[in-house]
């Protein structure tokens, strides 16, 4: 068997291991005295920035009505088939509204495609990451849980306008 020639052979100092090991140990020793980055979770919570993709929510405008026009694009694009929309007519200017809008949070993969495809900026990803259910039925979020006032989503909407154009 021919010996494989390495691109860069180790120098003598590297080959006697000890100085390199000492270097590594010095690094870990220094790290030991640095403050930890751990958040004590249930007491201290992680506050995400606007770029965070938490659970998808429906935007509720100032007039207490959802922006959604029930076009069904989100349901069509959803790779996990988590969204179900049933459209109906309304007297308002937008003419259509979702009579039923359900996201199955057990199927949702937080990809954000629904938000990307939405022509009305009506479905956006929130900062909410604490999703716990005790049974499968609870995991299906209807309009009651999905509607969030627009003020609470300002950071995400600003982020989207800035980076999605």
């Amino acid at each position: 068997m021919t010996e494989k020639k390495r691109i860069k052979n180790l120098s003598l100092m590297e080959r006697i291991y000890i100085p390199e090991i000492a270097k590594g140990m010095w690094l870990t020793l220094k790290t030991m005295f640095k403050p930890s980055v751990t958040l004590q979770y249930p007491e201290v919570k992680f506050e995400p920035t606007g770029s965070y993709r938490g659970r998808p929510v429906l935007v509720k405008d100032q007039n207490e009505v959802e922006r959604c026009v029930a076009c069904g694009l989100c349901a069509r694009v959803c790779p996990a088939l988590a969204i179900e929309v049933q459209a109906s007519e309304t007297e308002l200017e937008k003419e259509r509204y979702p009579q039923k809008f359900e996201i199955n949070m057990l199927r949702c993969i937080f990809c954000g495609l629904c938000e990307e495809v939405c022509p009305e900026e009506a479905i956006v990803m929130s900062k909410d990451y604490e999703l716990v259910f005790s049974n499968r039925d609870d995991a299906i979020f209807g309009k009651d849980k999905l509607l969030v006032p627009v003020e609470n989503l300002k950071e995400r909407l600003d982020f989207l306008r800035k980076f999605k154009g």
Partner: protein, 343 residues
């Protein structure tokens, strides 16, 4: 001293040592997790009890309540026997390690060692070699390929490093001219610590001790990424706890042996020049021994979380082509020292 008195004193020593040992093993696990956390900018266990100090007990009780699973293909006898061999070896090695100078309590002259036998070092070497059986039996009897590979690696590794370990110790024995741990400690009076006199021997011994205790960077018998759990893949519940306990107990033994052989045991340089009270001196010396051991233990943890694992061929390479010649060189060095300075 009558026979009865000797037996009672020995029993007290044994109980004390075992209790201290179990406690220190439990807290070794705790500190292992703490040190790893500090090195990785985390906090480590801090929920169970004050600063997480009760965490080891929570871990032990969790293990005790787990189901004890024995694989169908396993050799039941050896599978059960293996953790006990590992534990027995780890615990009985302590018997010969002196933690302090001889003291006088209630009129009895007591050696602070369970058995002050004149072949103590031989006993340590013999028992650490026996420790291989625990791991190899565990690997073979589980009837699983991962375990078997772990067991084979363990035996090959232990045998190769035992050689350089033995030769490193030979250097120490040349200087102290005795196999009795007490005498070896006394021979390192003042700054004549073996780590100072024979630094090469010290390094080879420490490296071999790492390999013998299966600690990173030589933890190939376990090697989680390649071998699932290595030799203890098929162990659960209390048998697993046995191996876990034995690993940490072995670490403590190894540190104590390193301190005894190379760092002057319980000696504090020039303490007798200070003219202190005899009892205070003894207490300080026991403290010094424990402190040195604690430092070596910390060193074990520190190395584990700093250095990646060796590849198997690199391990063998290092053992036979580097450590073995170095330990021989150390013997020559010590012999030259004795010839020239008549130490």
């Amino acid at each position: 001293m009558t026979l009865l008195e000797t037996i009672i004193i020995s029993l007290i020593k044994i109980v004390l040592i075992v209790v201290l040992l179990l406690l220190s093993v439990a807290y070794m696990v705790y500190f292992e997790r703490k040190v790893s956390a500090w090195i990785q900018n985390r906090k480590g266990p801090n929920r169970v009890g004050w600063f997480g100090l009760l965490q080891p007990f929570a871990d032990v009780f969790k293990l005790l309540f787990k189901e004890d699973i024995v694989p169908d293909k396993a050799n039941k006898t050896l599978h059960t026997l293996a953790p006990f061999i590992a534990l027995f070896v780890a615990f009985s090695t302590y018997a010969v390690i002196p933690i302090g100078p001889p003291v006088e309590i209630l009129g009895y002259k007591i050696n602070l060692v369970v058995a002050d036998v004149n072949i103590g070092i031989l006993w340590v070497l013999a028992l650490t070699s026996l420790g291989v059986y625990g791991i190899t039996f565990a690997g073979w009897s589980s009837g699983s390929k991962h375990s078997l590979l772990g067991g084979i690696r363990s035996s090959a590794q232990m045998i190769s490093y035992e050689v350089s370990m033995g030769f490193s110790i030979a250097g120490v024995l040349l200087l102290s001219q005795s196999l009795q741990p007490m005498k070896i400690v006394q021979a390192q009076y003042g700054w004549m610590w073996n780590a100072v006199v024979q630094p090469i021997g010290f390094i080879t011994f420490v490296v071999s001790a790492f390999a013998e205790t299966n600690r990173l960077p030589f933890d190939l018998p376990e090697a989680e990424p390649e071998l699932v759990g290595g030799y203890h893949t098929e162990y659960s519940s209390f048998k697993f706890a046995g191996f876990f306990l034995a690993e940490y107990a072995n670490m403590i033994v190894a540190s104590m042996v390193i301190v005894t052989l190379y760092l002057g045991g319980w000696q504090i340089p020039y303490i007798d020049k200070l003219g202190l009270n005899n009892n205070l001196t003894v207490l300080l010396q026991i403290g010094a021994f424990l402190l040195k051991t604690a430092f070596i233990l910390f060193f074990f943890l520190w190395v584990r979380w700093s250095i990646p694992r060796f590849r198997y061929d690199q391990l063998m390479n290092l053992g036979w082509k580097v450590m073995f010649p170095l330990s021989l060189l150390n013997i020559v060095w010590v012999a030259v020292l004795i010839m020239i300075f008549g130490l």
